[in-house]
């Protein structure tokens, strides 16, 4: 029983290591498809829980990426006077970062797949 629990904990720790850096790549990739608010990004990532972004982690990340110039945020207020939302778009610097990060990720994935081989 102890070993089983320990095994689950180790997997969680390993998954947490895998998420390093992946959150920023996921945000850049989603914004490359079109402008989105923080809520919009979270709704799309809710279908991919292993990416590991939560309400508490996405806004500080967006704030940093905006200061770094990789994304740009702009407030949009609906015409009916409802509360506005800040929507983010990819900047040219963000698009370049995405290209480099995507290429690095593809090389990593390809090499690791070759190392892992066929699971059967």
């Amino acid at each position: 029983m102890y070993l089983a629990i320990q095994g689950v904990m180790d997997i969680e720790s390993w998954k947490s290591q895998l998420r390093k850096g992946a959150a920023e790549l996921a945000v850049l990739a989603l914004l490359a498809k079109g402008d989105r608010s923080g809520t919009g990004l979270l709704d799309e990532l809710a279908l991919r829980p292993d990416v590991g972004l939560s309400d508490g982690s996405i806004y500080p990340l967006l704030s940093r990426m905006e200061r770094e110039g990789r994304i740009a945020g702009e407030w949009h207020t609906p015409e009916d006077g409802g509360r506005g939302q800040k929507r983010y778009r990819l900047t040219p610097e963000g698009a370049a970062a995405l290209r480099h990060m995507r290429a690095a990720w593809m090389r990593f994935q390809s090499d690791l797949s070759l190392v892992l081989g066929d699971p059967t």
């Binding site: 947490s16 809520t39 508490g56 500080p60 990340l61 704030s63 506005g84």
Partner: protein, 192 residues
């Protein structure tokens, strides 16, 4: 308490927790978190959103950490790097290890700088000292009582060597500090 009151209370507490931020940054964060909570309230998911954001203090800490890391990374100076690691050391093990390792090199730099300064003021007491009897070496300043038993190996070369070692230790401490800052930036605190 109505849902609107709960949102107001959360935003008021978050506003207090964000005291260290500039007013435009603080207002931007508050406005965005309020918009997020209003949106989730409209979907009937306010409880879930509040739980996921964590306490106002935790939420503010997430922004504060990202700001410190980004400033340290952009600034490139040892003071900002060391300050960021120091501020995060109590919350992140990576920052604590980084602070310890880079701190050792900064201490070495201070020691070498002190020796170089002493070489200018009291050259007879500063040096790379060797004690032939015990076979030991010591780099730094000794008291005048130990002089008869020791021999200075560097002589006039002490100042340039100490200055070089000061610079090398500073650069090493700074490089290691930035390495740990980069590691911290790659791993948002509240993932999952």
């Amino acid at each position: 308490m109505t849902q609107a009151n709960r949102i107001d209370a959360y935003i008021a507490a978050l506003s207090r927790a964000l005291r260290g931020f500039s007013e435009p940054d603080r207002q931007d964060i508050l406005q965005e978190i309020r918009a997020h909570l209003d949106h989730r309230d409209g979907e009937g998911r306010l409880d879930e959103a509040l739980k996921s954001l964590g306490s106002p203090q935790d939420c503010a800490r997430g922004f504060s950490e990202e700001l410190k890391l980004q400033q340290a990374f952009t600034d490139r100076g040892p003071a900002r790097t060391f300050a960021a690691l120091f501020a995060l050391a109590s919350q992140r093990l990576t920052a604590a290890v980084g602070l310890l390792i880079s701190g050792v090199f900064f201490l070495f730099a201070a020691g070498f700088a002190f020796t170089a300064f002493y070489e200018l003021v009291t050259p007879e007491l500063a040096g790379l000292w060797s004690n032939p009897d015990s076979g030991s070496f010591f780099f730094g300043v000794i008291d005048s009582g130990s002089l008869p038993e020791t021999r200075d190996l560097l002589g006039p070369w002490l100042f340039p060597v100490a200055a070089l070692l000061t610079l090398a230790s500073l650069l090493m401490g700074q490089w290691l500090g930035r390495l740990f800052i980069r590691l911290l930036m790659r791993r948002p605190r509240m993932l999952g």
